[in-house]
């Protein structure tokens, strides 16, 4: 967030506190507070679009779940509840460390910010690692929809077509979720570097706050994906 020096620009009547600007205040804003409020509101607006983005997938899920009730439960047996639960815990932990890094910024503890950001990245990476192991199993078991869909389980074979719809939803939902995680890790890496350089303190940590909102949102998506994909058939196993 390079600040733009607009030396000629005029102060609004409510904009001029003291004679100097905070280096992170952008020219179109009158105050850091206005800037922060705008950024968080903007981030929330973006998250609303994300809700609808994933929402369309959840809608497709709800429709097909209602149409192919039993098939979804059967197909769900092939997802690993243990790995899914571990991943849920990992992601919840990463949300905690994310929140703590913002708290560290509020307390002006530069190194703690970096520490918690690195922890968040680590946990995010762990999640993706476990996820890729799960994907590997699906490939190995020929459960990837398309011409190579060839499950060995006779229960799935009997409903092969509709099970493909389930696995299509599984891959597209978790895949887009994982893509969001990867983008999030990229953002966190950039934040960690910027924090190390001392860009953030209790007066200005808006990028941390916004990335935090994004990261928690990705966590929430998983909070719904986990039961809807992994747990629907657990009792009939």
């Amino acid at each position: 967030m390079a600040s733009t020096a607009f030396d000629t620009h005029l102060e609004g009547p409510h904009g001029a506190h003291g004679g100097h600007h905070h280096p992170s205040l952008q020219h179109q804003f009158d105050s850091l507070e206005q800037q922060k409020e705008s950024s968080t509101l903007g981030m929330w607006m973006f998250l609303v679009t994300e809700i609808m983005f994933f929402g369309a997938l959840f809608t497709a899920y709800v429709i097909y779940r209602s149409l192919f009730h039993g098939v979804f439960a059967t197909a769900s047996h092939h997802l690993d509840v243990t790995l899914g639960a571990i991943n849920t815990a990992v992601l919840i932990g990463s949300s905690l460390t994310m929140a703590l890094s913002i708290r560290a910024a509020q307390l002006n503890r530069r190194k703690t910010i970096v520490l918690f950001l690195l922890l968040t990245i680590l946990l995010g990476g762990t999640f993706l690692g476990i996820k890729s192991v799960e994907y590997g199993h699906k490939f190995h078991d020929h459960l990837v929809p398309g011409p190579h869909f060839a499950p060995e389980d006779p229960a799935i074979q009997a409903v092969a077509d509709k099970a493909q719809v389930f696995f299509s939803l599984y891959f597209i939902m978790t895949g887009i979720h994982a893509l969001h995680m990867i983008i999030g890790i990229g953002l966190l890496t950039w934040l960690a570097i910027a924090s190390w350089r001392g860009r953030f303190d209790s007066t200005y940590y808006t990028p941390l706050e916004c990335t935090g909102l994004y990261w928690h949102f990705v966590d929430i998506v998983w909070i719904f994906l986990f039961p809807l994909l992994y747990l629907i058939g657990a009792h009939a196993r």
Partner: protein, 349 residues
């Protein structure tokens, strides 16, 4: 030769006059409001034109009653039209009791029709005058739409399920049949005609065509060919073969009844359900029965499916049971919940 400058479409079905009445009523409303706005604008334009450069308008006076009036009056008109339109809509789609079922299958880029007595046609559909005809439509590939402007009916043919619309032709003649849903390259050539004949001529036309047999008869043959009776019993009676316990529910009286499924839900056994149960038996297993039926996907064509459905339907007498008529015990009727079905009995075929 049709008129070179027609303003009104031909009208040749029992619903057409009703649709037209609704259309003209709406047209009148539209003309009234458009003219009202136009006249007001032109009058205000002239009456209040700017006379010198510094002139400004008078302060606004916006009486609340006016705002309310011009919100409520259009609302009432729109709701009245909605009620009228819905009533016409339900008539277009709800077939009368005496409707005869014809099947239509859309395919890039042609229409294939089957008459109840087995006669088949491509792109031309002969129908008897005055007879209510229910079209059950599906598609082999993409979405098509069955559209006969003179009848004012239209229904998409969606792959994977049946949709339905009905009409009763009121004037003999030849009418356009269009595919109204864009379906690819030759979409605009997927046109044909509906030929409305006097009943007697229709009989003659049928007799003149290649001999077919009724859909139900073809369905019954197919039922034997595919050895459905091994599990569903002779004639779909649900009786077990050669003294064995029955392996599948009876099909008698099934059509249009509610079926309890193994996962606790209830569905109505309509055309789409029966079609799905043949192609994808595991999707909706009847409560109390083992999921042992094999799929017939790829073994039966869309046309054969309609024959099988006609046959199953015929097992329930005229038109089948009324939907929702009681939570039918079809699922358990012949099903002896207590009798354990063979776990992995020899499967037919």
């Amino acid at each position: 030769m049709k008129s070179q400058l027609p303003l009104f479409p031909e009208s040749a079905s029992s619903v057409a006059p009703q649709v037209d009445a609704l259309f003209y009523a709406w047209t009148a409303v539209s003309i009234f409001f458009t003219a009202l706005i136009a006249v007001l604008i032109i009058y205000f334009m002239a009456r209040y034109r700017r006379r010198h450069e510094d002139e400004v308008g008078l302060p606004e006076r916006a009486p609340v009653w006016l705002e309310i009036a011009w919100s409520v009056i259009p609302l009432l008109i729109a709701l009245a039209m909605f009620a009228w339109g819905t009533q016409v809509f339900v008539q277009i789609y709800r077939p009368p009791a005496d409707a005869v079922v014809y099947y239509g299958v859309g395919k890039q880029w042609m229409w294939k029709f089957q008459h109840p007595d087995g006669q088949r046609e491509i792109n031309t559909l002969h129908v008897p005058l005055g007879q209510a005809i229910q079209m059950k439509l599906t598609s082999e590939d993409v979405i098509h739409s069955f559209f006969v402007p003179a009848f004012r009916v239209k229904q998409d043919a969606v792959p994977g399920r049946y949709s339905s619309v009905w009409f009763r032709a009121t004037r003999p003649g030849v009418y356009h049949l269009f595919c109204a849903e864009y379906c690819g390259g030759e979409h605009s050539r997927m046109i044909g005609s509906v030929v409305v004949l006097e009943p007697q001529q229709y009989e003659e036309w049928l007799a003149g065509g290649p001999a077919g047999q009724p859909l139900t008869a073809s369905g019954a043959e197919l039922f034997q060919q595919l050895t459905c009776q091994t599990c569903h019993g002779e004639g779909g009676s649900g009786a077990g073969m050669a003294g064995m316990a029955p392996r599948a529910p009876s099909l008698v009286g099934l059509y249009n009844r509610q079926v309890a499924l193994a996962d606790g839900r209830k569905v109505v056994a309509d055309d789409s359900y029966i079609r799905e149960s043949i192609l994808n038996p595991m999707a909706k297993v009847t409560a109390g029965w083992q999921p042992i039926m094999p799929t017939f996907q790829g073994q039966v064509t869309e046309e054969q499916l309609t024959q099988l459905i006609s046959y199953v339907k015929s097992l329930s007498g005229e038109g089948g049971a009324e939907a929702g008529g009681g939570t039918a015990e079809v699922g358990t009727a012949g099903g002896q919940m207590g009798t354990p079905a063979p776990q992995a009995g020899p499967q037919p075929q």
